[in-house]
C-alpha cells in the first residue's frame, strides 16, 4: 500500500472550494436572466381522487403565461423494475403534491398565480396512508391497474398494494427454530422517514435546440435523467442532452429524474429557456425521503452464541409509486442479512404502495434502519443468552470464507479486527450508569455492513500537448469532492503527472459515455476504474512512442513527474509534452477510453428471488461506538462521545474522508434523534420547512473520533472503496443501543425525540403495532 501512496498526491485540495467560498459557483438554481421563463407546478391537494375536470382556460389568459402542459403532453410511464409512474396525474391522484399541470410564464410569480387559477374538480377516493392500511385484506388499491404495467426487471413477486417482493431463503430455519438447545429472540421495529434537505433544491433549466432537448440540471445521475425524460416524453434518448454544473447537495435524493421532463416539455412548447426550481416547501413536501419501514425479526441462538436461524420481514413504504424502493428491497439481504454468520436464514422484503409522497434513495438507503433493527435485536439476543455484546459480535461477524445471507463467500477478516481496533483504543469500562448530574449514561458498540454499488461507467482521457490530461466522464460533483479530488488523483497517478494537470470535464451526456450515477459510494470505484482503464490505453500509446524516441523498449519506461524515464535512470528520458508532440506526427493525438461494470460476485444459486443484486461486489464495514446521556425527565439525549472505525480500502484523501465521516455521522444523529416526518389525515407531510423539520445545528453535534481501516480487499482503483456513504450507516443503531443501555428500556422506534424517550422512561410506550407482519414468516409471502 505504501508504494501506491508514494505514487499518488495525497490530500489534494479541492479545486472548487475557492469559487464556492467567494459565491461565484453557478449552481443550477443560479441560472437566470431576463431571457429565461419560469415554471411552476400545479400540485394535487388531496391524497387519493379521481380527477373529474381540469380547466386551464382562465390560467392561460393570465399575464405573462406562455404555456400550460399536462398529462397528454407526457404519456409515458417510468419506474425502476416496474413502469408505474406518470409525471402528471391524468385521471387519478395518488398522493398529496402530485403534479397535475406545469406552467411557464415570464416571472415565477406569474407562473404560480396561473397554477392557482387552474380549476380542478375531484371525486375523492379512500386513501391508504399507512402500510398497515395498505396491507389490510379490504384495502383499496393504490394501483388497481397494477397487472397492466410494463415490467422492467424480472423476478419480483407483485400483487395488490405490494409493488415488489424480494426474498432470501437459505437453509432450514424451521429446523433451526425447532431445536431444543436454542433461545428464540424476537423483536419489532418501526422507523420514520428522513428528508435529505439538500440546500440546493431539485432544479433544472431546459432549452429545445436543433430538435433536441438540452437539460442543465441538479442531478446525481445524468444518464438516468436522459433515459427517463426520453421515456416519458416518448422521444428517442438521443434527443436528450444532459449537462450538470456543481450540485448543491444530493444525498441520494437526486439519484432519480425529477423536474427535468416538465421543463423540457415547456421549453419545446415555448421555444424559450425554462427554469424550474422547487420552492423549499415543494422540495420538502415531495421529498423522495428515506422510507419509513416496519420490521419484524427473530433469531434462534444457542447458549454459546451461534445464530442457527434468522427470519425477518421488512416492509418499506414506497409511497404512491414504486421508485427506488422496488430496487432497494434487494438491500435487506446485505444489510439486515449482513454483519453476521447465519446457519439458516429467511428474509422477506416488500415495497408497499400507500397514498403518500413517493420515497427514494438516501445515503446508505435501507441499511440505516436495517442496521438499527439488527443491532438492537443483537443486543436483545446478548441480553437473552447473557453474553457480552462485543464478544457476541466478535464471534459472529462475517470473516474470511464465511457466507453471507445469499450464500456469497466473503474475503478477508475485516470486521473482527476493526472491533479489536476500536475496543483497544477505547476500552469498555461500563455500558450504563448514572452521571453526577443525574442523567442516565449509556454506551454501545455496533457493527454494520454496507457495499459499493458498482455498475457501468465510462471514461475518456485525452493527453494534451501541454502535458495536461482531460478526463471526460458523466460524473457529477455533488459536494463529496470525488470529482475534484479522487479522480484527478487516480488519473495523475496513472499518467505520472500532477493532479493539477488533470482537467475534469463537468458531466455532459453528449461527451461522456453511460454512467449509472454518483451515489452508493461508487464514484471513486466505478468512474475511477473506468478512468484507470482509459489511462492504460493512453500509457500504452505514450510509452510506445517514447520507446521509439528513446530507442529502448516500452517495458523499461516509467512515467513520473511529468516525464518518461528509463527505469532506474532518472533524467535519461524526456517530458511528456515532447512525447505527445512526437505522437501527433507519428500516430496522432493520444487518447484512451475505458469502461467498468459490476464484476459479478456470485451468490448461492436459488437463495435470492426478486433481487437486483444477489451478491455484493465490494463490501464495506463499519464499527461505531457511542456514549449518551439521557435526561430522565425530558427524555433529551445528548451524545457524549462518538467513535468509529471505517473500512476504506485505501484512503486517498484522509482529510476529505474526515469531512465525510463528520458530516455523515451528523446526518445520522439527525435521523436518530430529531428529524421527524409525520403525515396528516390528508396525506400531507406536517414538516415542510426548517421551523418544523429539525436539522442538527452546530450546538447539537460532537467531534467524531475515527480511525480508518486500510488494506481490506477491494477491486477499486488503487485499492480504494467509497468513503462518503457509509459513515451514516450505524449511527441510529449505536445511539439506539446506547439509549437502551442508559434507560434500561428497549428502543424500538426512530427518531428518538425527547417526547418519545420520555414516554419510554415513563413506561407509556408500547411496542410498535405490527399486526400487519405475521409472526409466521411464511404467512407474509405473496
Amino acid at each position: 500500500m505504501s508504494s501506491v501512496k508514494d505514487s499518488v498526491v495525497m490530500n489534494l485540495p479541492r479545486r472548487d472550494a475557492r469559487d464556492k467560498l467567494q459565491g461565484r459557483t453557478k449552481y443550477t438554481v443560479d441560472v437566470g436572466g431576463v431571457e429565461v421563463l419560469h415554471a411552476a407546478l400545479l400540485r394535487a391537494e388531496v391524497a387519493s381522487a379521481r380527477i373529474k375536470r381540469v380547466d386551464i382556460s382562465a390560467a392561460l389568459a393570465m399575464p405573462g403565461v406562455q404555456a400550460i402542459v399536462s398529462a397528454s403532453d407526457a404519456p409515458g410511464l417510468h419506474g425502476m423494475g416496474v413502469a408505474d409512474h406518470p409525471i402528471f396525474a391524468a385521471n387519478t391522484v395518488r398522493y398529496h403534491g402530485e403534479p397535475i399541470a406545469a406552467i411557464a410564464a415570464d416571472t415565477l410569480a406569474q407562473a404560480r398565480a396561473a397554477a392557482a387559477a387552474i380549476v380542478v374538480e375531484y371525486d375523492r377516493l379512500p386513501a391508504v396512508l399507512t402500510m398497515a392500511d395498505a396491507l389490510a385484506s379490504d384495502a383499496p388499491l393504490v394501483h388497481p391497474e397494477w397487472r397492466d404495467y410494463e415490467i422492467l426487471f424480472d423476478g419480483g413477486v407483485r400483487g395488490g398494494n405490494v409493488a415488489w417482493q424480494a426474498t432470501v431463503v437459505r437453509g432450514d430455519t424451521d429446523a433451526a427454530f425447532a431445536r431444543d438447545d436454542v433461545t428464540i429472540v424476537e423483536g419489532v421495529y418501526q422507523v420514520g422517514r428522513q428528508n435529505h434537505v439538500p440546500f440546493e433544491p431539485r432544479a433544472v433549466t431546459a432549452t429545445y435546440e436543433d430538435g433536441r432537448y438540452h437539460i442543465h440540471t441538479s442531478t446525481q445521475a445524468p444518464w438516468t435523467v436522459k433515459h427517463v425524460t426520453a421515456r416519458v416524453l416518448g422521444v428517442p434518448e438521443s434527443a436528450v442532452h444532459v449537462t450538470v454544473p456543481a450540485v448543491g447537495g444530493g444525498f441520494g435524493l437526486k439519484f432519480d429524474c425529477s423536474l427535468e421532463p416538465y421543463a423540457a416539455i415547456l421549453a419545446r412548447k415555448t421555444g424559450r429557456t425554462v427554469s424550474q426550481v422547487n420552492s423549499r416547501k415543494e422540495e420538502m413536501m415531495t421529498c423522495l425521503c428515506r422510507e419509513n419501514a416496519d420490521i419484524r425479526i427473530r433469531s434462534a441462538v444457542t447458549q454459546d452464541g451461534e445464530i442457527v436461524g434468522r427470519e425477518a420481514t421488512v416492509l418499506m413504504d414506497c409511497g404512491a409509486y414504486g421508485g427506488e424502493q422496488v430496487f432497494l428491497t434487494t438491500m435487506t439481504a446485505h444489510t439486515l442479512g449482513g454483519n453476521y454468520k447465519l446457519g439458516s436464514v429467511r428474509l422477506c422484503t416488500k415495497a408497499v404502495y400507500t397514498n403518500t409522497p413517493p420515497n427514494g434513495a438516501f445515503r446508505a438507503c435501507n441499511g440505516v434502519y436495517n442496521t438499527f433493527a439488527l443491532e438492537r435485536h443483537t443486543d436483545e439476543i446478548c441480553a437473552a443468552i447473557d453474553m457480552d455484546p462485543i464478544a457476541f459480535r466478535h464471534r459472529n461477524v462475517v470473516g474470511d470464507g464465511d457466507i453471507g445471507a445469499t450464500g456469497q463467500v466473503f474475503q478477508g477478516n475485516v470486521l473482527a479486527p476493526m472491533l479489536d481496533q476500536l475496543t483497544a483504543k477505547y476500552p469498555v469500562k461500563r455500558r450504563s450508569g448514572t452521571l453526577p448530574d443525574g442523567r442516565l449514561y449509556g454506551r454501545a458498540t455496533t457493527v454494520g455492513t454496507w457495499f459499493i454499488f458498482v455498475g457501468p461507467s465510462a471514461a475518456t482521457v485525452n493527453l494534451n500537448a501541454d502535458g495536461s490530461a482531460t478526463l471526460v466522464t458523466a460524473g457529477v460533483e455533488i459536494g463529496s469532492g470525488t470529482m475534484m479530488q479522487s479522480l484527478p488523483q487516480i488519473v495523475a497517478a496513472n499518467l505520472g503527472i500532477h493532479p493539477d494537470k488533470v482537467i475534469v470535464k463537468t458531466a455532459d451526456t453528449d461527451a461522456a459515455g453511460r454512467d449509472l450515477g454518483v451515489g452508493g459510494g461508487r464514484t471513486t470505484v466505478s468512474i475511477g476504474a473506468a478512468s484507470e482503464a482509459a489511462c492504460a490505453q493512453v500509457r500504452e500509446k505514450l510509452l510506445g512512442v517514447a520507446a521509439e524516441l528513446l530507442q529502448t523498449s516500452a517495458d523499461k519506461l516509467v512515467l513520473s513527474g511529468g516525464r518518461v524515464e528509463i527505469r532506474g535512470r532518472p533524467g535519461s528520458g524526456t517530458t511528456i509534452e515532447k512525447i505527445v508532440q512526437q505522437a501527433e506526427v507519428s500516430i496522432g493525438p493520444l487518447s484512451g477510453s475505458g469502461a467498468f461494470t459490476a464484476p459479478g460476485e456470485r451468490s448461492m444459486p436459488g437463495c435470492a428471488a426478486g433481487h437486483f443484486i444477489d451478491a455484493i461486489d465490494i463490501p464495506v464495514f463499519a464499527v461505531h461506538d457511542c456514549e449518551v446521556a439521557v435526561d430522565p425527565v425530558t427524555g433529551h439525549v445528548e451524545i457524549l462521545s462518538y467513535r468509529l472505525v471505517q473500512d476504506v480500502g485505501l484512503a486517498l484523501n484522509p482529510r476529505a474522508i474526515h469531512g465525510q465521516i463528520q458530516g455523515g455521522v451528523v446526518q445520522g444523529i439527525g435521523y436518530a434523534l430529531s428529524e421527524e416526518i409525520t403525515i396528516d389525515a390528508n396525506g400531507a407531510f406536517d414538516q415542510t420547512g426548517f421551523e418544523t423539520y429539525r436539522l442538527p445545528l452546530a450546538g447539537d453535534v460532537v467531534q467524531i473520533e475515527f480511525d480508518l481501516y486500510e488494506g481490506a480487499p477491494s477491486i477499486g482503483p488503487l485499492g480504494t472503496k467509497g468513503a462518503g456513504e457509509v459513515p451514516i450507516l450505524n449511527v441510529a443503531a449505536a445511539i439506539g443501543c446506547a439509549v437502551t443501555n442508559a434507560t434500561g428500556k428497549s428502543v424500538t422506534t426512530l427518531p428518538m425525540t425527547p417526547p418519545r424517550i420520555a414516554a419510554l422512561l415513563d413506561g407509556r410506550t408500547c411496542l410498535p403495532e405490527m399486526d400487519h407482519i405475521d409472526p409466521h414468516w411464511l404467512a407474509n409471502l405473496l
Partner: protein
Amino acid sequence: MPVTFTLNGQQRQFSGDPRASLLDALRRDFRLTGTKDVCGEGFCGACLVYIDGVPKVSCLLPIGALEGSKVTTIEGVGARETLTPVQQAFEDFDVVQCGMCFPGMVLTVTHFLQTNPRPSRDDVKSALVGNICRCTGYERIIDAVMSLHNSAEGPE
C-alpha cells in the same frame, strides 16, 4: 419611488416592488447569486448579507427598508483575486462540500471574529447557531475557525 443604496461599494437603485425581499432583488435583479435562497424563513443563514456591517438574513428584509444602507454580499467580501483569512482557512482545512451554506458561513464567521478575536470552540458553536449546514457536520468548520487565532484551546 426607487430605493437607493450602496451594493458592494457601488451606488445602486431598485425601482421594483419595495416589498420584494432583498434576497430576491439580489438574485433576480442584480444577478448576484452568491447569496443563496435555501429556507426562505430566516433559519438557515445561507442568504446572509451585511447591512451597514451587521449580518442580516436577506430573505426577511424588504428592499424598501434599505434606503441609504450599505449592503455587502459575499461577492463584496475581500479582494476578488485573493481569499480572506477565513476563506483561506476553510480551503486549507478542506471543509467545503456542496458549498451552498458557505457564503453565509464566511460572513458570520468573519463578523464574529472581528468582535471575538479569541473565541473558545463553544463560542464559535454559539456563533453558528443561525447557519445550518447539511453536509459537513460543523466540527471541521470550527476546526478551521480555531486555526485563525491563538486562543487558550489553540488551533488543531
